[in-house]
Symmetry: D4
Subunit: 185 residues, 8 copies
Amino acid sequence: MKKLSLRTRVLTGAVAVAALGAGTFGAMSANASTPAAAPAAAVKADAANDNLQQTTHLTVAAATKAARATLDAAKKENQRVSVAVVDRNGNTVVTLRGDGAGPQSYDAAQKKAFTAVSWNAPTSELAKRLANAPTLKDIPGTLFLAGGAPVQVSGAPIAGIGVAGAPSGDLDEKFAQAGVASLAR
Amino acid sequence: MKKLSLRTRVLTGAVAVAALGAGTFGAMSANASTPAAAPAAAVKADAANDNLQQTTHLTVAAATKAARATLDAAKKENQRVSVAVVDRNGNTVVTLRGDGAGPQSYDAAQKKAFTAVSWNAPTSELAKRLANAPTLKDIPGTLFLAGGAPVQVSGAPIAGIGVAGAPSGDLDEKFAQAGVASLAR
Amino acid sequence: MKKLSLRTRVLTGAVAVAALGAGTFGAMSANASTPAAAPAAAVKADAANDNLQQTTHLTVAAATKAARATLDAAKKENQRVSVAVVDRNGNTVVTLRGDGAGPQSYDAAQKKAFTAVSWNAPTSELAKRLANAPTLKDIPGTLFLAGGAPVQVSGAPIAGIGVAGAPSGDLDEKFAQAGVASLAR
Amino acid sequence: MKKLSLRTRVLTGAVAVAALGAGTFGAMSANASTPAAAPAAAVKADAANDNLQQTTHLTVAAATKAARATLDAAKKENQRVSVAVVDRNGNTVVTLRGDGAGPQSYDAAQKKAFTAVSWNAPTSELAKRLANAPTLKDIPGTLFLAGGAPVQVSGAPIAGIGVAGAPSGDLDEKFAQAGVASLAR
Amino acid sequence: MKKLSLRTRVLTGAVAVAALGAGTFGAMSANASTPAAAPAAAVKADAANDNLQQTTHLTVAAATKAARATLDAAKKENQRVSVAVVDRNGNTVVTLRGDGAGPQSYDAAQKKAFTAVSWNAPTSELAKRLANAPTLKDIPGTLFLAGGAPVQVSGAPIAGIGVAGAPSGDLDEKFAQAGVASLAR
Amino acid sequence: MKKLSLRTRVLTGAVAVAALGAGTFGAMSANASTPAAAPAAAVKADAANDNLQQTTHLTVAAATKAARATLDAAKKENQRVSVAVVDRNGNTVVTLRGDGAGPQSYDAAQKKAFTAVSWNAPTSELAKRLANAPTLKDIPGTLFLAGGAPVQVSGAPIAGIGVAGAPSGDLDEKFAQAGVASLAR
Amino acid sequence: MKKLSLRTRVLTGAVAVAALGAGTFGAMSANASTPAAAPAAAVKADAANDNLQQTTHLTVAAATKAARATLDAAKKENQRVSVAVVDRNGNTVVTLRGDGAGPQSYDAAQKKAFTAVSWNAPTSELAKRLANAPTLKDIPGTLFLAGGAPVQVSGAPIAGIGVAGAPSGDLDEKFAQAGVASLAR
Amino acid sequence: MKKLSLRTRVLTGAVAVAALGAGTFGAMSANASTPAAAPAAAVKADAANDNLQQTTHLTVAAATKAARATLDAAKKENQRVSVAVVDRNGNTVVTLRGDGAGPQSYDAAQKKAFTAVSWNAPTSELAKRLANAPTLKDIPGTLFLAGGAPVQVSGAPIAGIGVAGAPSGDLDEKFAQAGVASLAR
């Protein structure tokens, strides 16, 4: 019965969600040499109706909170960046063009976010995979440059946060991770 | 009354969902002159975590079933069409370019599906809205031409099915509705 | 057996093809108010293998001949035009940018050819259909402006010829028809 | 001397800015039939260096505040919309895809914002101009549909706010105006 | 002999060019109801080599002079516009984004210039042709809105000048004509 | 003589075609270092009309069968992928976005399919060719990454199947080959 | 003095032009390590009017002749290719999609032609320049892959011919050169 | 020390600006291995209104002057190039397609200018950064090829000048620097 199964799912899911309330938001430190199968927690079959599935997304309020935390982290280090939050389907949810950020930063941030959520790993990790598969970077919408981090629920990607504009991609990614971390508060 | 019905729906959403197992898939016969607020059943807040929301989608198996039912309906009337199924975020899930369908049909089908899910109404109804708001059709990704139908759960759109290639948009839409109907079986 | 069925097809088809050798190339004078189902002769199932179908195309030599005949017809009337030949899948086979033709003519010719083969009718006829279905013209790749003509085999479209650059679309279409006619010689 | 001239400008400008602190943010009620020359207060020559000019922009913090106020206004009326803030050069500064907003709303919001800042008027007013100049809407990047409002300083446009997703453009524009109004607080 | 024929051409051409030195630069006041065949003076066959033809273009110095004259004319009337000069092949030669011009003006100016050179008439005239051929405006690259003017040599188009950003297209076109006129000086 | 040579080819080809009914569907193990001329069986001249040629395509039913077989193969290994089937002209016939597949997989699958049919080889083989011709990958529409496989009739490509979303391209290609194999059943 | 130097160039050029009647059409064997300044014979100032310059182009008849010669050369070696001829401004003049050529060949041919005319050298030579300037290949419109050849008059590029579809770029370029050679006949 | 110098700059920014009247226009010789935080002088908060900031731009007159100086410098060395000036937001302000410049030069010049202003360094320097971050060049709008130079005020980028078409990027950049230098006169 639909109603029951749904309740069951919510209850069961709530455990994981509660857990994630305690810190499971964060970028997986992906093992580039042995990529595991992508976790599936964020996509669930609907037991009562074979035709349907549920997917998990950030609310726009949460995505905005993360994006602002990202800019705040950059501001503390006197860096000018742009930030984007992309959902698990690759659709952009929030963009903020930071004051004084270079014009290239706006698109770059979106592509980093897209890349992080696509492979469920920080783009600094993903960039290393190009050593073995250099044409990965030719996939449309991607940018294999540090600065993107996935947002995860129970290990599955539900969003990506991308940052661009700082002097190095590592700095960009530090700010993106600050955005991810803000979601656990 | 809209307000009441919405309240009712939220409280007893599970009931409605159960009902849909019994046949609520289908295209809303939208009242173009008094468009109501879009129903929200397909997007739910996650009670355990303010940061999250759930969205409902067709499985690819269901979307493929609907697309094939669409082509079968067209074949019975000796029409050559293409069909597309687009999810509630506008992302294409399934496309089938029918044998002998005109080259214009492939893109047109996608745009009709996108339009139907965007406004939660058949595109034959939406086309009538242009009388009052002719520039609606300038929104990127849309095609205000009969042949698209929304897939609904509890009145909320979760997908759109678009068809193109038959000699008239009404025929196209008849086939799209056959695709929608196949999901209730 | 594959071999036999192929022979059968060729023999059967040859009747139609022979007919077309006697003049069936030409643009259908479409009846815009009662569009019939698109003829299917140019797409055939393969009796020996359910997985396969055959489609008919102009050779590049034939398409070039038609395109040159088109430019010759324009030159006789001192008009500067561009011409395009598009196959039944909408792929451009030949383009010729005529000497002194306006810069808009090159893309316009391709779109007219695409439109003519998509609906199997001259674009002068198709433009009239906008009275009943004005948003047809919003389908990507199309241009509902006189100057395009379909190339037909047994009534089915196998290519489109589009012309642009003359002072009127009717002149453009006259030249396109000259291109079509050249294929019957 | 640069410093002095700048101070002079700031002081002079401060009057206008102070005024605008008291409510001059808002969409000009443009007189569509007699469009005046675009005000220039937001672009100033630099008296000390003929090569330079200054332009005025919203900070990303202000733009985010306005975008959130827009979504809040929509939420109060139970509408699901997306919002975009575009600067006076047409570059997008902030986008927020609202929970449950239709997929068409994201691009539409940006185009409405772009249109409002381009002509320094609400898009509901601009849409009326199409009666006299119907091809205005063919300019790339624009959407002549209610839902966009300019942000002004001393009457000059410094940004545009665009909203899409509500059942009518007038509702969209009401929310956009709420976003504009939030900047005066 | 190549050399002789070239000389001949130059001498013959020089008459026309000399004439145009005396004022033939300017936008043809096209008769929209009876468009003549496009003049061909700007494209010449090369008598000595059937394979070659010559086309006439503005130098970049001339195009820049015209563009600056256009902006100067606008400045005199306190209007903020952008201007583009496009050659007879539709390639942009010069663009100037005027101080304080709206963001929509840059692309619009190019499209107006492209349209004017394509049909060898001011876009104010061309816009009237839409009454008889409304889908002309669907040709890629065009904008049928006042503000574009052709540059002619012996009646043939060699460039287009497009202006956008003023409150009306007629004003835009007045400035474009000022740019054309500057070439005769 | 043209006709004779054609006959010879058809006769020879018929043997192969008969064979293929028994399982010759499959990806050619291309020899990357000595690429042979592309086989031509899938394009045939029409003996009765020099203007025409026939091309062989999968039916949409066959393409859908192959795409579903591909997803089934991935599901058995708990992988989430998208799949595309592209015809010999590069036009997409079927796309299926698998449940839970990353957003990058949809476009990547199409490009892999396009690449496989373009060079009539698995993309894992084609990727190796980049060692000698690194700019091959700059050709529009291509992706030189394992995961694509051609569908062949008598050694000639009639379609391509592309898969993306698994942790490695080799896995993707295994699933694509399962799709190819399904056509021989 | 400007006028004199121009005259000198014209006179000098004329000799070369005469020579080219005797066979100077052909691809320059560019010295990649010491690229000389691009020859300018194909662009001439107009002595009678400082505002004007003349550029030299192939007629469409010549370009078609070259394209057909290219396809004929390929056919002799049983290769299936597409060919494009692009003028000195980068505008495509002729395209022919060869029978049975891979779908990637059409765009690739245009890009090779564009590249050859842009740098006035065969693309096989240009590809070698990437060793020193690897990002040259990121310039829009280019493809640094053998198969393109410039058409020259007096050493200056007036067109490019691009070929794609053969198993190697060297073969493609051989056919392109056959097209160039046909212009000298 | 960065922090101090920044403080100093803010306090005495006017001095630096005054100094720039005396020649501080010029391209920073960026230290690619230790990129500093981007200077912020060109973006200022508005002390009277927290919502606003000021950005500094070249006037179109200044940008045109620089572009013409660039072409003049190229002409002196008999090189044919195109030039573009892009503002700090990445929007193109001026383009000049030089007489006889290759068709690839127009887009390349814009991308070089965009790249130079984005990272506030000459593109010859930026190209070296690819050694450590090779995917930087995949950011949309960029071209990491010598020929671009930033225009700076007090060390902050306010524009970029890009040049393309000369036989080497170093030559292109020399001309771009001549354009920058013209602004100090």
